[in-house]
Symmetry: C2
């Protein structure tokens, strides 16, 4: 499995919002779900998306969207405003879960599972030079980036990697990584993701 962890500084942790952008920029979370998990026809079954929400009233929350289980969702923001509202109100939704968990605890868990952790960073090693296996975790900041303290913590467990000189939106970073992994998996493992 490939996993993306988005750190959302202000993403609201209860479901009482009319728009995602007014809920601590949950629109960024939606956009990342879109590019992490959706192909032209169907889902990426080998991807798990995580967001750590640090906004009011109940931070930190860990939102997980599991590509192995997702069904019957569409790609538009209106649908995901409804879905995220429901889930953050405590309702169940297939493939999506919420729990009280910090960024630090989530990263420690991934390390204990021996999954290589990569932290997107403009000064990192070029992603083109990284050797991937069948599992990897990619850590991204939201529209403001990772706070210094969180970045420092993540780098105790992971390696800095860079997508180049350009500064991309978080959803675009995920698209690019998925594309490179598609090619990498075909070239190195002979499989179609």
């Amino acid at each position: 499995m490939y996993e993306f962890i988005l750190y959302s500084r202000k993403g609201h942790t209860s479901g009482n919002f009319s728009t995602l952008s007014s809920a601590g920029r949950l629109d960024t979370v939606y956009q990342c779900i879109l590019t992490a998990l959706f192909k032209s026809y169907g889902y990426r079954r080998d991807v798990i998306f995580h967001a750590i929400l640090e906004g009011p009233p109940n931070p930190p929350l860990h939102l997980q969207v599991d590509g192995r289980k997702l069904e019957r969702t569409t790609v538009d923001e209106v649908t995901w405003t409804r879905v995220l509202n429901l889930v953050l109100k405590g309702q169940k939704y297939l493939g999506i879960s919420i729990e009280k968990k910090s960024f630090e605890v989530l990263l420690k868990e991934k390390q204990q599972e021996s999954i290589p952790i990569f932290v997107l960073h403009e000064k990192g090693k070029s992603i083109m030079e990284v050797e991937f296996g069948p599992e990897a975790v990619f850590v991204l900041g939201d529209n403001i980036g990772l706070p210094k303290q969180k970045e420092k913590f993540a780098l105790r467990f992971g390696e800095k990697i860079s997508l180049g000189k350009q500064s991309y939106l978080a959803l675009s970073c995920i698209d690019i990584i998925n594309f490179l992994l598609d090619n990498y998996a075909r070239t190195h493992f002979g499989i179609s993701r």
Copy 2:
């Protein structure tokens, strides 16, 4: 300039909708505007996005979003629902224009401007082997793909290129092309886009 042309079979051609997805999948148009024109901070000033809308009541319409002129828009779907409604009602909006024009006429114009035209196609030449200049037009289908007749027309003017075996959403295709052009421009022209 780099240009993207999205052919939208059903995109509505008047501004009286509550959601983009109910307006002939204008959510796909919004998503492509997002990845064509937005970087982490600011706009891609070297990109023009076009959509040909073929839905009711007044097809075909040519929507153009010019990265050189865009100001003060945000990246969420709610904002773009408002913007596209306004523009399709005939109101002016900085950087965005609407005119009555067909897919065929738009492509002929690009050819007359001597801009190389590339048509995304699963059986095309790998994009990795294409030589780019400082200008290019990329033609994409919507969530259903290009109709056969439109594809045939486009291939009179352009070359088939492929992003690989994976079937990507239209917004992801644009992210991937922008990423590859970022690297190409740096390697071949020594410039940052």
